[in-house]
């Protein structure tokens, strides 16, 4: 059913207190839809809602009053930063906060562990048959990968769009699975949806870490015909991606695939025929969106096809190398990208824990000192990714290999690399910062859920 008035739509839905509503985060910090829908649900008098958004950004700050007064009781998400994250870190929720992984979210929806009552799916372009695509329209965001499971398994699926065409080429969402379409004037702020050209770091420490990462990958003989690779959109990751493709070119090699969030640097490699295909669960910049629109070797994939641990065809099970960041890492190689050292939520797993577990080689890259705090702790404040899935840590002052990867240590025994134990690296940091005291923690506010559904760690209010 097609609607042009949100109140009419909501009146037609079977809305109940305590129900679960979902959103995706492909509109990133330009998203207007989550705020509009949640405000309307509040106006319709709903209470104790479970908000299941794949991520929450600073742009979603207007829903804070709904969290405080109880319209939103429970939140399940994969990532959050900004005012909502700060508020929950300090004051908690009336219900529970669950931090999932991208693959874990897809798994939990597909397996019925999480039941979405209504999925509100922002769609940059739809056609009259309610097929949807992310690559057209004024709010184009590229891949709609994180919305696919919602579109398949929610009890009621509502597309929200500001661009209706007679037909769509290569839709990402099949209109036969959709119940309703709400046409709005705008999905949000295009400048917040799409980043400009992402910049490679110019920070000397970041560049040094990137160089060391490439040296490590070379020493481990990673550069082989058909290698697969994933890295993020941070400045260091981009420098590594660029160096990775330059090395492929210099050695006349071609990678099989790059996966995950896609940027101009991945696209450049595809266009130079240095990689066979891109598996794109999220476009990070305009170049990626443009490439997804026109390049037949650039595939939009769902979160389940990306990282659902129970999907035997998931892309990352064939991933050779993943480059990841860290807010903290401990001497057991557990990584925290969910909170800072004092308990404020600053992010979340996203695909961190998924790719670390599935890839053959997981590499953490990070400066050893972050302002005045050391990266390495005896125990991380929050475990996002278990240490058993982390293989290497690269900092500007040395490289630590997880002792459990004796095969890597054996390969590197004659390499001219600055290898240290993680404890030695920690001591180097402490030489500048001193040994930090454990931060105080308040009452429990939620959990970190592993991609398989188990509780990996608890989240506590930040201490005074």
């Amino acid at each position: 059913m097609k609607y042009e008035n949100i109140d009419e739509l909501l009146d037609a839905l079977d809305l109940k207190d305590g129900m679960c509503v979902s959103f995706h985060h492909h509109l990133r910090n330009g998203d207007a839809i989550l705020n509009v829908v949640m405000k309307k649900l509040h106006e319709h008098g709903l209470k104790r809602l479970h908000l299941m958004a794949s991520a929450l950004f600073p742009v979603h700050a207007p829903i804070l009053p709904l969290i405080e007064e109880g319209t939103i009781e429970t939140i399940t998400t994969n990532y959050m930063n900004g005012p909502i994250a700060e508020h929950i870190s300090a004051r908690g929720l009336k219900g529970t906060l669950t931090m999932q992984t991208h693959g874990g979210r897809a798994r939990s929806i597909a397996e019925g562990e999480r039941v979405i009552d209504v999925a509100f799916i922002a769609a940059p372009a739809v056609d009259e048959n309610m097929n949807a695509s992310g690559v057209q329209g004024k709010s184009a965001c590229g891949s709609l990968g994180y919305a696919i499971e919602d579109s398949l398994y929610a009890k009621r699926k509502v597309l929200v769009s500001d661009h209706v065409s007679p037909s769509l080429k290569d839709p990402q969402i099949d209109g036969r699975t959709i119940d309703d379409l709400l046409v709005v004037e705008s999905l949000g702020d295009a400048a917040g949806i799409v980043s400009g050209t992402l910049k490679i770091t110019q920070d000397p420490l970041g560049l040094k870490i990137a160089r060391e990462a490439l040296r490590l990958l070379k020493a481990l003989d990673v550069f082989q015909e058909g290698v697969s690779f994933q890295s993020g959109a941070g400045g260091i990751s981009l420098a590594i991606t660029k160096g990775f493709t330059e090395t492929l070119k210099a050695r006349n090699l071609k990678a099989s695939f790059f996966s995950g969030g896609i940027t101009k640097y991945h696209v450049d490699a595809l266009e130079e025929d240095l990689v066979d295909r891109l598996y794109d669960v999220q476009c990070f910049d305009a170049a990626a969106i443009d490439s997804l629109r026109k390049n037949e070797k650039h595939f939009a994939i769902s979160a389940s096809d990306y990282a659902n641990p129970n999907n035997p065809d998931r892309v990352i099970k064939d991933l050779d190398v993943v480059i990841l960041g860290a807010s903290e890492i401990d001497t057991d190689f557990n990584v925290n990208v969910t909170t800072d050292s004092y308990g404020t939520i600053i992010g979340g797993s996203g695909g961190h824990a998924d790719t670390a577990e599935d890839s053959k080689l997981s590499v953490i890259v990070s400066p050893l000192l972050k302002a005045r705090t050391p990266l390495i702790r005896e125990r991380v404040r929050t475990i996002t990714t278990p240490g058993e899935h982390i293989d290497c840590l690269i900092t500007e002052r040395g490289i630590a290999i997880n002792p459990k990867r004796s095969d890597l240590l054996e390969k590197l025994k004659d390499a001219n690399l600055p290898l240290l134990t993680i404890e030695e690296l920690m001591q180097k940091a402490h030489a500048f910062t001193g040994k930090p005291k454990p931060s105080a923690a308040g009452e429990k506010i939620g959990i970190v859920e592993s991609r398989h559904g188990a509780t990996l760690d608890n989240l506590y209010k930040k201490g005074d």
């Binding site: 000397p204 560049l207 040094k208 160089r211 040296r215 000192l369 500007e396 002052r397 001219n416 500048f432």
Partner: protein
């Protein structure tokens, strides 16, 4: 021996803290041009504390001091006890070196010096400067020289060819280091060209004014595979013949060539220990 000499301002804690991770073979901590007059004291204190607590290992450390009193003496007295490898003396001339020597003698100090050659006068007494006792190297300061002479720097540096050649020859004649001027923009292509010119002219190393310039300098001054292969062949033949004079591929090899080959391999090994080529 050092390939890269990285200038680090003496009043920026983050730069000092990370000085040893920038991969420069040598650091020049700057107490002169980079520091405003009212910050001299704090910079001196910060630099001294840094060198006491965190002096980088395997990196040569120099301090560019002020050339004129009272800052000259204050800098010298505060830095000399800190185990530095030397000072860089701005606007070096024979006269300023005499003053420097007198100060050392007066305070019973022994600190090697790198002469920063950046005035027209210095070029007319360059060989005497190069042969001055305690002088460890000549460093070309093209920015101040350009300001004084009206010289306009361009990528490739043909305007500097005479100065570079003269400085390099004087340094080699005196058996000290020839260190090239920094390139002051972050334009990678122009930097590469500037490094290449210095390298081909025979300079031993080059200054960097940003840490991101260091890897390109280190790479360029690392002996090439062709050079290393040739050096290994010369030494192999030297060992086979047990002689300092032999023929290889129809060319006569004598003692200086053998010594040069040894030095080259030693240099490559030293640089490899520092992290080698990326």
């Amino acid at each position: 021996m050092a390939r890269s000499y990285l200038f680090i301002p003496g009043n920026v804690p983050r730069m000092l803290q990370n000085a040893d991770v920038f991969e420069a073979d040598a650091l020049i901590i700057d107490l002169e041009d980079a520091i405003a007059a009212y910050e001299k004291e704090e910079a001196r204190t910060l630099t001294a504390e840094f060198l006491r607590a965190h002096r980088p290992e395997s990196v040569e450390v120099y301090v560019r001091i002020n050339a004129e009193d009272p800052l000259f003496t204050e800098d010298l007295l505060s830095m000399a006890p800190l185990g530095i490898d030397g000072v860089v003396l701005p606007k070096t001339t024979l006269a300023s070196l005499e003053s420097y020597r007198n100060s050392l003698e007066k305070h019973n100090l022994d600190v090697p010096v790198i002469g920063l050659i950046e005035t027209p006068d210095a070029f007319f007494e360059l060989l005497e400067i190069a042969r001055f006792p305690s002088l460890k190297g000549l460093l070309l300061g093209a920015e101040d020289l350009s300001a004084t002479t009206g010289m306009k720097r361009r990528p490739g540096g043909e305007e500097l060819l005479y100065c570079r050649s003269r400085l390099m020859l004087a340094a080699k004649a005196a058996g000290i280091r020839a260190i090239d001027t920094p390139w002051t923009s972050l334009d990678e292509e122009a930097l590469a060209l500037d490094i290449d010119v210095a390298n081909r002219l025979g300079f031993d190393g080059k200054c960097a004014i940003h840490p991101n310039q260091v890897p390109a300098i280190n790479d360029a001054f690392f002996p090439s595979e062709k050079e290393l292969k040739e050096a290994r062949r010369i030494l192999k033949r030297h060992e086979e013949t047990n002689s300092m004079r032999f023929s290889l591929d129809g060319k006569m090899i004598d003692k200086p060539v053998v010594q040069k080959a040894k030095a080259l391999l030693q240099k490559a090994e030293t640089y490899r220990q520092k992290g080698g080529k990326p």
